[in-house]
């Protein structure tokens, strides 16, 4: 039999437990898994047994230390929380059609990403991007540079001084000389994080440039220098990570910035139309 969760492990062995440990097991199952994350003292009090009984209980489950037991519980929780997809797999009845698992994962990623993103954060970033006293630079990594490109293409229409840094490293590295405190640098960087980008971000940060970072949930090292960090979920059933969540956040920001610059932007757009 495949034991995948501590709960299963318990129900598997609860029959072979002495009375005290069984009470521990039952209280853990009843408030699974929260009691297990608290201290031994609290756990024992909730179960109405002594602390050593709790320790003997986790030892019987095969753990060396109590912290080890707690870590396992936490990882279990992490798996549940971070990939809501697993829940939909557990309850396969919701939408009968054989829809693409890729789509399902992406929808979850989007919801999760935005759940961790407040309106205020987005508004702050949009305000920063719409601030026309400084310049805006955008750059991305190997797979994410198209996102930078996409965002730049839109932003450049509603305001001046938007630059997509592309091409050879030596080229965009030298653009650092144009960057100062009033400027914003938008960086896209997901695993595997690129050294060149990190170095670039560090230097820019030292020059006082405000960095807006689009990254994955494991946070690029650039987060250390960033003024604003957007952490998107990237996990999908594929050999590649998905940048869809970051893409949608980018579109959302594009929309917000455009709205803020509406008055001036409309004028610009009319001028642009005239140029064709």
């Amino acid at each position: 039999m495949m034991i995948s969760s501590i709960a299963e492990l318990i129900s598997d062995r609860i029959g072979a437990m002495p009375a005290g440990e069984r009470r521990a097991a039952q209280t853990l199952i009843a408030n699974y898994p929260l009691i297990g994350l608290k201290t031994v003292a609290e756990f024992s009090a909730a179960a109405g047994v002594s602390s050593p009984t709790i320790l003997r209980f986790v030892a019987r489950l095969g753990f060396q230390h109590y912290p080890e037991f707690q870590s396992t519980l936490q990882n279990e929780l992490a798996a549940q929380l971070q990939s809501p997809a697993s829940r939909t797999l557990n309850t396969p009845s919701q939408n009968g059609g054989a829809v693409s698992p890729m789509l399902e994962a992406t929808l979850d990623n989007l919801r999760e990403t935005f759940r961790h993103l407040s309106d205020k954060q987005l508004a702050d970033i949009a305000a920063r991007l719409a601030d026309r006293r400084g310049k805006t630079f955008l750059i991305g990594g190997r797979f994410t540079d198209p996102l930078a490109c996409y965002m730049a293409a839109h932003l450049a229409i509603v305001q001046p001084n938007v630059f997509h840094l592309t091409g050879q490293e030596s080229v965009w590295r030298d653009r650092l000389i144009d960057m100062g405190k009033r400027d914003v640098l938008v960086i896209f960087d997901i695993r595997r994080y690129q050294d060149s980008l990190v170095r670039f971000a560090e230097t820019a940060h030292q020059r006082g440039v405000q960095i807006v970072l689009f990254t994955d949930q494991w946070l690029s090292p650039i987060a250390r220098f960033a003024r604003h960090v957007i952490a998107g979920r990237t996990a999908v059933p594929s050999a590649w990570d998905s940048s869809a969540a970051l893409f949608v956040v980018a579109e959302t920001l594009i929309g917000a910035v455009t709205r803020q610059l509406e008055a001036d932007g409309a004028k610009r757009i009319r001028e642009l139309e005239g140029l064709r």
Copy 2:
């Protein structure tokens, strides 16, 4: 304002935090709430700051001790776990403002787009793209070229002869000479449809090139030449159209192609790793 979760509390105050504490906040949000349940040492290591910074961070959130902060997180988790419904109910309250419509619209667009897209269609296109007897060309319009670039970056890794047509029109127009019956041309074109792309597609079609078209629900005129048409929903409450649906379809195809070329692709990827 009603603060009901620590996540809200953080996003409310993150703007007024010094750099180190902000990094703590960002890592907590990115792996919410699991990092917060671990020890101060682990939390600080994950955030790349020192332990006192973590303690100052939780103090700023209004907690007296670190354990008090952890208890609050645990209770939050308990509430979520015991009634999964509350989880979805929390969602609108957390970002019920101006952002949600954008996300909601995008989610709808994704569902609608895939609803009109059969597994078989996707499989057919993937098979066509994975066919290595011919070359694959990708090109996009003004705002969609980044999508072509994104797709090309991935496809070029798992197979040879993938070319992203970019730069000046005269440059890629001349590449027509390399295209024949066994080749595939992937075109991204949404409103306002670009004449240059339409002409390009027509000529390619006359040369017998297989065209895969990514367009919006109103169908670019290129559709009449295309072997496969993917019509994505693009309507969002913004001044711009959304390419998110097309982006996700592209990612799905990338995944499918990769899976088909798994055997050879793995070898290629190993070779590529060796080149670094």
